[in-house]
Symmetry: C2
Subunit: 250 residues, 2 copies
Amino acid sequence: MVDLDGAISAGRSARTRGVSLREQVAEQIKQLIIRNRMRPGDLLPTEGELCEELGASRSSVREAVKVLAALDIVEVRHGHGTYVGKMSMAALVESLAFRGFLSRDNDYRLIADLVDVRATLEQGFAETLVASSTPEQRDRLHALATGMRTRAERGEDIIDLDRDFHLALMAPLDNDLVLQLTGAFWDVHAIVAPGLGSSSEQLVQTADAHLRIAERVAAEDAVGLREAIAAHYQPIRTNIAAHIARARED
Amino acid sequence: MVDLDGAISAGRSARTRGVSLREQVAEQIKQLIIRNRMRPGDLLPTEGELCEELGASRSSVREAVKVLAALDIVEVRHGHGTYVGKMSMAALVESLAFRGFLSRDNDYRLIADLVDVRATLEQGFAETLVASSTPEQRDRLHALATGMRTRAERGEDIIDLDRDFHLALMAPLDNDLVLQLTGAFWDVHAIVAPGLGSSSEQLVQTADAHLRIAERVAAEDAVGLREAIAAHYQPIRTNIAAHIARARED
DNA sequence: CCGGATTTGTTCGTATGTATA
DNA sequence: ATATACATACGAACAAATCCG
């Protein structure tokens, strides 16, 4: 049972200045999580309890909870209860993916920008990566790349290994935010521009590009690593440019 | 008047497999925006109209709209109507800020990770920045830095100029995503760790650090720019380390 | 300044679907 | 299979904000 004392609104007549009740409820639920030092997976009070404790109707509480669920601050399981969420980048992915769909009808701008961000992040961390990666991490990177190679030769899909590779590449940084951003940007790319840079005849080339990245990390060659990363994203940029040219004709 | 044809659920008895009605409504509203090629600021149907067109109750429509509003895909104005949103990074800021408050009670981990991301992004784009910045952009950067200097000497706050400076620094990239991420990360930093790296006796040093960045851009010195950016973030890292040490004592 | 129309904000009661024991 | 607890969904009513004549 969590402590609700202090999270009670103490009569919202005090400060209702323009801010809606739903926003107040959302803020109080967030404060509840912080105050009680709750962790992802912990059980939150039921909707009914929140209504009573926070002095709001079921609708207001539900709308607030849904907003927090969209941010992955809470997680709702039907017929089960409401829990503290995993704090993932789900909201960023959904937001960027929607913008990607919009830009896909026009100039592919967001996707091109996204590739620049992904490449620059990986290149920017190149020095730190080669300096702090452990032998185990380099082995894993190499194993993922060779796995992509063998599956590419059979014409099989390598999309899941691709995601794992880019996460494994950034793992030595010991930076959770970078890992989550890397995964989120990859997800957006996969949702909005599926198959961009992995058309069937390019599969082997894509796998080789990853293999060269793994080799440069193992060789502790930061300059070569940056070049290998640039080479990895080059065909993707070319494909995007082709799509843009095709879109202009319409 | 927007076209709602095709966005109608055609009887949701067909596909109700596990996915909640609210999610279906949210998806249909997004499709409505894409289908009609609507732009930020365009007026969406009223709640009542959406209920009728999508065959859902007002509660379900409202919850869906609130989720989309949290992602800044739509914007709701009380007593006015619902409009297409600005597609900002508001959700990312709120999500990261919440995680920042949680980590502030423990290890300041998110803030430290965030500084690494901000520094690496700016350093990673250094070459492109010096290569593509226009004289006007360099002048603006220098003007912002000197403005920070004069106000710092008077002991005045320079936080607003700081945000403008970091946005102006990235402006030459012509990459909207980078600009929005830069602003979002800055906002999270300001919300979670206010005054970190801008304590009153450090104000002049902070302004000088920005001045050196502007000078390196003007000199088209990418290597020096990277060093200047690293120097800019150094006192912030030191302050964070001090906070971590202080937190450990408790 | 006012009043009416429109639109979103909030509440309540009720019924239904879902998961656990 | 039954009972309980919980989230999901609906509809009607009233409150508050905004705009306009």
